[in-house]
Symmetry: C2
Subunit: 220 residues, 2 copies
């Protein structure tokens, strides 16, 4: 039983890692689509939504089968429960990448972003992609120290987000209300993407140490 | 075993229902705080964040204990898994009510909303509160038809949200960029609150019928 459990749990963790990697790659291309007003790339990201939905269902079914057939206890049980919770985080990360792609499709052939904020979104995209890759690595290695580093990336994201809002709220904002609305929503999508990556890190830390770090979102 | 399982599962469902009710009540007061620029009410909602966090932890621990001690199978196992997924939805609903309260605190003593959009937010608040109450009822009764009605409320919310955006994007918007940014974020918070209530309905329908309705968020 134990050998089968270990094997199936490792498969499930790798599937979750693969999904986090896909979400990061989707956010990478969605950011490129946004910065370059590239409709083809946006459509490509949107078209992959079904693939992510399939993987989500696959992961949930594997977790369910693990519980039903292996009846894990104690720490093993916690791992499967955490996997189920993590599925919902990677699901949201994928959905948020799709949201970014949809904004750039909606504004095509125009750019959704005023040029003045391109730098912010290039950087938020870079941080998001790096956090997707870190989440993948953390899921595969279950290294709590690596997981804790996700908080530093999240702080970088929060800083960028704050600066972006200062810019929006400034009387000097010259790009109109419609652009401000797009920038506000897009900023929120990147920030939430990062929050979900942090949440994955928290779950992995909990599995490794037995202590769930405080939820940073409660402080916001 | 079976009697204990049924009793504990009913307790857990009632706890989830109570939490959905609390999230609805928090959104109710957050909306009042927003419309009336009532700092005391906003602070009250924000102060209850800890209480919701405690209930979340309590619910997760109960679900874990149920799995560990009762080792449910088949449909019973699905119920517990669904409960764990629903915890994360009610958690977000509570967090979104807090976000609304925080915007009104941040703008105090000013109103965060231009008077022209008060009617939209009063109505979005009403729909959100009604969906919180429906989610509570659905969790307690597990009635799939009642659960499916959450989709109609969600359509009403989406309509309000769309109209609000038309107003924001209109050249006639006279309330400046800062107000537009607040209105954009606030609109998103109400819309997401509704999405999580629908998600709870989907989980309950799945438990009752074995079929998971399509995720409406994927279409957006």
């Amino acid at each position: 039983m134990r050998v089968i459990y270990n094997e199936q749990m490792a498969d499930l963790a790798n599937l979750l890692g693969e999904m986090a990697g896909l979400a990061g790659s989707a956010m990478d291309r969605a950011t490129q689509a946004l910065l370059q007003a590239d409709l083809g790339l946006a459509e490509q990201v949107i078209g992959e939504g079904d693939r992510i939905a399939e993987l989500i269902q696959d992961a949930e079914e594997r977790a369910f089968a693990l519980l039903a057939l292996q009846a894990p206890v104690a720490g093993d049980l916690r791992q499967v429960i955490s996997a189920i919770q993590i599925v919902s985080d990677v699901n949201r990360m994928g959905a948020l990448a799709l949201h970014v792609a949809k904004v750039s499709r909606r504004r095509h052939p125009n750019h959704a972003l005023p040029e003045a904020v391109n730098g912010y979104f290039a950087e938020m995209g870079r941080v998001a992609v790096s956090m997707g890759a870190s989440a993948k690595e953390v899921l595969e290695t279950r290294d709590p120290e690596r997981a804790a580093q996700l908080n530093q990336d999240d702080e970088a994201m929060d800083d960028l987000h704050r600066h972006l809002f200062t810019l929006l709220m400034d009387r000097e904002w010259k790009h109109g209300v419609a652009a401000a609305v797009d920038v506000t929503l897009l900023g929120r999508y990147y920030e939430r993407f990062a929050d979900h990556a942090v949440e994955i890190g928290r779950r992995v830390i909990f599995l490794a140490t037995g202590v769930l770090p405080p939820d940073p979102d409660i402080e916001v």
